[in-house]
């Protein structure tokens, strides 16, 4: 699923590496929290996985794609096997909830019939039935994030990657979103969640990978985030 080995990555114009001989593997069906202080390299890992940045050395394999060697025009094929969720939702403001989700299906060339069947199903799964015609600004933050999750899910990716998906939400909404991600994981999708929120991580008994200065500092299943701090 995800295989990083001895990965080094330094952004141009900066001296310190954002990933420093970093290794980690994520197997199919896992639910993994990726934690660490600000600047420890969490977002960088996600960018390495989605092909937004390239490692200077090491191995980066995602869903069978070799990200060290992948050609730029093959990136869309990789990204279609991923569902990515961000802190700031990244919805298209002038499209309705339905269109925002359907959009991802248009990208892969899905037919109208398939879209009309699949989108309502996914919207129901994330608890947004009845909101199809609304625009993003007519939704609460939690609801907007559900739209983003629906969009990430709609093409049945094998891996969902979420970068601080609850960063803009209150604790109750955050818990709901995490429960939703866990539900998606229970349905068979691998989930990788980056987060800052200790309570939230500790409320679930999952694998927790802690980063420090671009390296894996700890990697424990059923781990407890923050015990070493």
């Amino acid at each position: 699923m995800v295989h990083l080995k001895d990965v080094c990555m330094t952004y141009p114009k900066t001296g310190t590496p954002a990933a420093d001989h970093l290794s980690l593997d994520i197997g199919e069906g896992e639910f993994v929290f990726l934690v660490g202080s600000s600047g420890s390299g969490k977002t960088t890992i996600i960018k390495l996985l989605t092909g937004e940045v390239r490692a200077q050395s090491g191995e980066v394999m995602v869903n069978g794609f070799d990200l060290r060697k992948i050609k730029r025009r093959k990136l869309p094929a990789l990204r279609r096997t991923l569902g990515v969720i961000f802190q700031d939702f990244r919805l298209i403001d002038n499209k309705t909830v339905f269109e925002n989700v359907a959009f991802a299906m248009h990208v892969i060339g899905a037919g109208r019939r398939a879209i009309r069947e699949r989108v309502p199903y996914v919207l129901k799964l994330v608890g947004l039935e009845g909101r199809e015609k609304r625009l993003p600004q007519e939704l609460s933050g939690g609801e907007q994030q559900r739209v983003a999750i629906a969009r990430a899910l709609v093409n049945s990716p094998s891996l969902i990657i979420a970068d601080e998906p609850t960063g803009n939400l209150d604790p109750a909404r955050s818990l709901e979103i995490m429960l939703l991600l866990q539900k998606i994981n229970d349905l068979g999708t691998t989930v990788l969640v980056v987060t800052h929120e200790k309570e939230l991580v500790n409320a679930f008994s999952k694998r927790v990978i802690t980063l420090e200065n671009g390296c894996v500092a700890s990697d424990e299943t059923g781990g407890y985030y923050g015990h070493e701090a």
Binding site: L75, P76, L78, H106, G109
Partner: protein
């Protein structure tokens, strides 16, 4: 690319004209303004050129026929002259007509009462296709048997040609400058328009859209806006031209110059405006979007 994807992208392109209403409006305004500036200037120089040509065509060569030839013999030279290279038209003028023309130019006709046609020579008035070759044609005419003398105003024709060349060069240079400025303005307008969609493009890429998928709606949008701008500019140009034409005709200058009716110029103007609009819209949007496709 699958067909339903293609139709979706076309629909998206059309839709985004409306969802980004203000930017679309700005792009169309810029296209219209640029086309109108260039169009008015081009039409002005076309008209100047036309008027100069008009004056040129009145610049004729006079070929005097040998006095010893009878009128019939003199008329017989006509076809020969007509067959010469660069000769557009030939008009035979008898000595009687020549005298009448001469006298009618003066008010006091009695002054010439003792004038007889024999003072005048039979002659040909010869019009040319290309004034710049007047000198050579004059020599050809002089070499024709039965032509005694040729009068051609080379100085005037040279003057006309110089003026026309200057007008052509000046207008080509100015139109090129205007074109470059227009492209520059367009490029910036489109850059601004696509800048507001950086995020949208980022989202498209994140969900795995290929470059063609991202590009097509933009290009269709640019193409349609360009065509729309071209069409609007055309109708405005038509209005401006007609109003100016009427004003000019009503003024004193109107009697001295000839304005080409818009109907004659309509199709070339429409074709050029639509073509330029399309070109600018399509190229502008594909160049502007290229910057965002690199990641």
């Amino acid at each position: 690319m699958k067909l339903n994807k293609f139709f979706y992208l076309i629909k998206e392109g059309i839709k985004s004209i409306f969802t980004h209403g203000f930017m679309s409006f700005a792009c169309v305004v810029v296209i219209v303004a640029c086309l109108l500036i260039m169009g008015n200037f081009a039409l002005l120089s076309v008209n100047i050129d036309h008027n100069i040509k008009q004056l040129e065509s009145q610049n004729e060569i006079l070929a005097f026929v040998d006095e010893t030839l009878s009128e019939d013999d003199a008329r017989a030279i006509g076809p020969h002259l007509r067959s010469l290279d660069n000769v557009k038209d030939v008009e035979f003028v008898t000595r009687e007509e020549a005298m009448k023309n001469f006298i009618s130019k003066y008010e006091d006709e009695d002054m010439f009462s003792d004038l007889t046609p024999s003072t005048f020579r039979n002659r040909y008035v010869i019009y040319l296709d290309d004034l710049s070759r007047m000198e050579g044609t004059r020599d050809d005419i002089a070499a024709v048997e039965g032509i005694a003398d040729v009068s051609a105003s080379l100085e005037i024709s040279r003057g006309f040609i110089a003026v026309r060349n200057i007008v052509t060069i000046v207008s080509v240079v100015l139109i090129l400058i205007l074109f470059v400025i227009s492209i520059f303005i367009m490029q910036n307008t489109i850059k601004l328009a696509t800048f507001s969609r950086r995020e949208e493009i980022g989202i498209m890429k994140m969900v795995g859209a290929g470059n063609a998928f991202i590009r097509l709606p933009f290009i269709i949008e640019g193409l349609l806006l360009g065509l729309l701008g071209g069409a609007i500019a055309f109708f405005l140009q038509m209005g401006i031209y007609r109003v100016l034409n009427q004003r000019l005709l009503a003024s004193a200058v109107g009697t001295m110059i000839q304005v080409i009716p818009f109907a004659t110029l309509m199709y070339p103007v429409l074709a050029i405006f639509l073509g330029l609009g399309l070109l600018v819209g399509t190229f502008g949007s594909s160049i502007a979007i290229r910057n965002y496709l690199k990641v």
